[in-house]
Symmetry: C2
Subunit: 194 residues, 2 copies
């Protein structure tokens, strides 16, 4: 077997304090403006955007593409905060490929992983430091930080999984995670059309 440069082992270093790793291929930062239509309180979102449009989350990637495989690593850091009464969260997505799962490992902070199928099956996983969740194929997934500090999770998946945002952008998730009496509570998403 003749090896290409991409077929050799690679290591990166994750920093548990910072919630970040290096080297990495790229980091994408998502601000309130990018997510404004996902939060149910649009007025609160507009107000935050005017106040400086803070970063809600950042995701850093490393794709371990070889001539035979395509595993990848992602680290997502969600800031603590709320838009109105709704906690900072990721946009959420389905995988484009229908047979692609993913593993999420919550390494810092606390929050929730929301999951939903296209047929409306819904599941909420409560996360604490150390929770490891398996996301089966065909389940949209969104993560939410309900804590006072950063929430960070490490993801392991395949590049061939791809992303599909359309369904989530159109309908959001079935339930929203909002603060009620200083505690997180799942409520039905009024704006859900179906």
């Amino acid at each position: 077997m003749s090896l290409s440069k991409e077929d050799y082992p690679i290591s990166v270093l994750y920093n548990f304090e910072l919630g970040d790793f290096s080297p990495k291929e790229k980091t994408i930062a998502r601000r309130v403006s990018y997510l404004s239509k996902m939060f149910h309180d649009r007025t609160a979102a507009e107000s935050l955007i005017k106040q400086g449009d803070p970063v809600v989350y950042e995701t850093s990637y490393y794709g371990f593409k070889t001539s035979l495989s395509d595993m990848a690593l992602g680290v997502t850091r969600i800031q603590p905060g709320k838009v109105g009464d709704e906690y900072f969260m990721t946009k959420g997505h389905f995988h484009e490929a229908k047979n692609q799962p993913e593993i999420y490992f919550c390494v810092k902070g606390e929050g929730y992983l929301l999951l939903e199928t296209i047929d409306g099956e819904f599941q909420a996983e409560k996360w604490t430091e150390g929770t490891i969740s398996h996301i089966p194929p065909m389940w949209a997934h969104r993560t939410i930080n309900t804590g006072m500090g950063l929430m960070v999770f490490v993801a392991s998946y395949h590049l061939s999984a791809g992303y599909s945002y359309e369904a989530v952008e159109k309908n959001g998730f079935k339930k929203l995670l909002v603060e009620r009496n200083e505690k997180p509570e799942l409520i039905l998403n009024d704006k859900r059309k179906r």
Copy 2:
């Protein structure tokens, strides 16, 4: 789409102190006797076996098998210790499937990941807390604890990767990791036939 019971999301909880998670499917413990032929100092191995045959490492598994996918989680805890001058280590294996990579995340301790192809390409990755390594397909892999405490890593892979131990059992790895002047040092494996 109709979901089977196995197609729902699952979470487990990893404990950073203990280096273990629950619930899990099974744990396998490997003692010196299981590995005795892998260490270069057979006399030291025999002596340790007579002194109680200590556990060298334990691996706990959870297979996230769904009707569409087969990702899995493994957590391996290597005890601190040596057989003669050679550090406690895993046996090491190739994947049976030729196109299956794996991601290892060192969450505790320090040590090395040794990698080798069937053609004798060799690579040693130095691990510290936070190192994340990608193991490309067709590379045998072994982990070694060179620290004073537990070394723990979390693995993400596919059940269909399978295990192949034959080449490693027959020839070992090209290099051994031994203590020299109180530091880890890679030396050539004399017993290597080729």
